[in-house]
């Protein structure tokens, strides 16, 4: 038995929610990665047993999606978007800054095991607050070098390891001779810090939500662990029977 009882329970609960057990593969993998920090063959075997599918089918799914990976990452995951909107607003400068300040290339982990960072072309959905990144799946937008330092500095050594949902490093070969992620020297338009206004003057639409569970800006340890969708907290009520179990 690789997985803890709590994780197994979460997977079973997810399985019973869906009309078909195998639909719970994604929530199950999130639960696994939440506990182990990665997806291991043993864990996949256990998921397969609980969901009544072949282990090969679990592996087929887990390797398809960018957010699962098969080897451990640092305690915190940093992903910087370099798609068009962010690149237009200086994402490459942020990338360079991260390379310098963290001392490793995109896709790598810092020497102290604190951060794994990578640049990605997978638009994160923060184009209005470009340049942007996600830290442990929480948005950080309107980035400057200082802001990046602020956010990461607050996390560094600031709490227990987050069994987060780190991202698989994306190997992107750069024939132009850059490193993995290919960021050196590439800018899109001139990078100007300049006056930067956000819609309605708010600094981060997601940051200050009254009553929302999302942590505010540069908080200390992330308020909620980047938990799997399955069931991060104990249920508030007994499990409801499935509706169309006809």
């Amino acid at each position: 038995m690789t997985l803890q009882a709590e994780t197994r329970t979460a997977i079973e609960r997810a399985r019973d929610r869906y009309p078909l057990p195998r639909s719970a593969i994604l929530p199950a993998l999130w639960a696994v990665q939440g506990e182990l920090g990665q997806i291991t063959p043993d864990a996949m075997g256990e998921v397969a047993t609980i969901l009544q599918v072949a282990p090969s089918e679990v592996e087929a799914v887990s390797t398809f999606y960018s957010m699962y990976f098969q080897h451990p990452h640092g305690r915190h995951e940093v992903i910087v978007c370099i798609n068009v909107s962010c690149a237009l607003r200086g994402a490459e400068g942020i990338v360079e800054h991260l390379e310098r300040s963290l001392g490793c290339a995109s896709g790598e982990t810092t020497a102290d095991g604190e951060f794994t960072w990578s640049s990605t072309v997978e638009c994160l959905g923060a184009c209005g607050g470009a340049p942007s990144m996600q830290v442990d799946h929480h948005f950080q937008e309107n980035l400057t070098a200082d802001r990046v330092d602020e956010v990461l500095g607050a996390l560094r050594g600031a709490g227990p390891a987050v069994a987060g949902t780190p991202r698989r490093a994306i190997r992107r070969r750069d024939p132009a001779g850059g490193g993995a992620g290919g960021s050196a020297g590439r800018r899109l338009g001139a990078e100007m810090p300049g006056p930067r206004t956000q819609h309605d003057g708010e600094s981060d639409p997601a940051a200050e939500r009254g009553g929302g569970p999302a942590p505010t800006g540069p908080a200390g340890p992330p308020a909620s662990p980047a938990a799997p969708p399955a069931s991060p907290a104990p249920p508030k009520r007994p499990r409801r029977p499935r509706k169309d179990a006809s």
Binding site: P41, M44, A54, S56, E57, E59, A60, T63, F64, S66
Partner: protein
Amino acid sequence: MADTANTPPEQPDDGRVGISIDGRTARVPKGTLVLDAATELGIHIPIYCAHPKMEPVAVCRMCLVNIEKFPKPQPACATIAGEGMVVRTNIPEVAKLREGMLEFLLLNHPLDCPVCDRGGECDLQDFTFRYGPGISRFPITEKVHFKKALPLSQHIELDQERCILCWRCVRYYDEITGEKEIVLQQRGVETLVATFDDQPLQSKFQGNLPEICPVGALTHREYRFVSRPWDLLRTASVCPECSYGCNINVDSRDFEIRRFASRDNPLVDDMWLCDRGRYSFPKWNSSERVRRPILTSDDESRDVSVQEAITQSARRLREIADEYGAASIGVLGSASSTNEELFLLERLARSVIGTPHVDHQLESFDDISASEHTLGIAEIEECDVLVVLGTEPEEQAPVLTLRLYKAERKHGARIIRLSGDAGVDQAVAATTGGARIGLIADETNRSHAAAMAKGIGAVRRLTTTRGPNGRGAKDLGLLPNVGPGYASVSEAGRNGRQILEGLAKGELRGLLMLGPNPALEADADLLTRALRAAACVIAIDTRPGIVSRGATVLIPGHAIFEKAGSLTNVEGRVQRIRTALPPASATPVETRILTSIAKEMGAEEWGDGDPLAVNRVLRDALPAYAAAGNGGRALFAAEAVA
């Protein structure tokens, strides 16, 4: 403007639709894919992912064709022919897209044809030559690299770089076997096929993978660097490893079999072979053979001519019959012999020698009848309930498992696997409500299966036997209690075990046997004692062993790939085998030997023993075999169910 020359005329609804492809028209059954309509019209459309036994996926995009009124080219493998459809494949648009797809495929392909086993029978080579670009035009910095020469098991090697991601192996493991051993992993251009955690394949049907793979990604390890296809001699025959009778192609080079390949017979193997059968070919290349007739008297063996062997055989049998009676001679055929050989052997035994002691295996079965083979293999798919008794049937004939899975998956059949000794009421309960019921059992469980069939009522049966011609041996009366065609006999004789025991004790004196016969050699001790004690043993066999050491007259036999003839499979299907290898000896084939012996013993009107001529006589004698012809089922009993 409609191209009237290409538009087929309107027709009344006859369940068909009119389609025109490149100006050629045809009326095809509703539901026909454009790809199949094209094949019918003799128009070649290149494909990779499409496969006759699998659902279309349309991922390779090679079969895109222009169809009038469709804005984009459509995949012929996944488009159903519609009334009045006008399809074009011989236009520049289609030629360009084919060239484009091939260029894409070759982009990340290692192009290692010189060291790839598939060379010469590779669809990537063939289609590139026929439809593809002449040169590569873009110096890609680095191809995407994967593992090469990755052993997936003792049988299969995977080269992930050569893989064109046609998905056939993945779909095979999903749709055909259900074992899901190979899956896709990763995404985009990094996609590859692999097993779970790189674990080895366990399937009993791995050998089909290199055949369905259109390129050299999946290859046989036993065939690695062995030959090129143009150096092979291909012979159509039947796999001799079990009684299912899968059709095969025997590929030989320099008089040695290099591989068995499948030969699609939708009624039997449905294009699939099991690994046990497919990889059994090396033993047929053994050079340990009986090569010359040998006469042994007073513990002295000497080579003799064929004629002398025949004469000695006839004389000694005559002598024993005269002195001790015909019933002092036992005759044993083999489930590895051809129908023609067994037909002659039975006649020689009962009509010429006059002995009732005839069999082909050790045990006999009192209630043997033709009703145990009323369910055809393909008819399994028509059943809505199928009971499989015990594990033996699928162990004996592994390909049966695939047909059962097909019935389940494609037709929704209920497959109920019971233990061999399950009660009749259990079977009755399980099959309640079934409209077309099938019962599959092994011959060792014959009686119990018969009782079960009686309890269920309207049911068709299939019985797995031993040896490539276990069924033929029974049809042709190589049994102590029934004659050819399951006709009754005037006098029941001893079964195989009783014959051997009789010889060992001196109750019987002579033995005439056709080999090889693995069924007898299963009780090596009894066989050895019997041969030692017998006064005279006339044996035709292929290999040195117990029989060759114990024979008085040993005549070299032809292995199954060294002769022509027919074999009858579990469902009664009579199938031709053909000569794929030269014989190991200069001795004539068994049918000629038996004919000569019979003639020397005074038999008349036996012809000359040519296998084809014998086959004609056989058909004359057994109407069921005449009706079966070559490739049909020989049915003796009326159908058990409607």
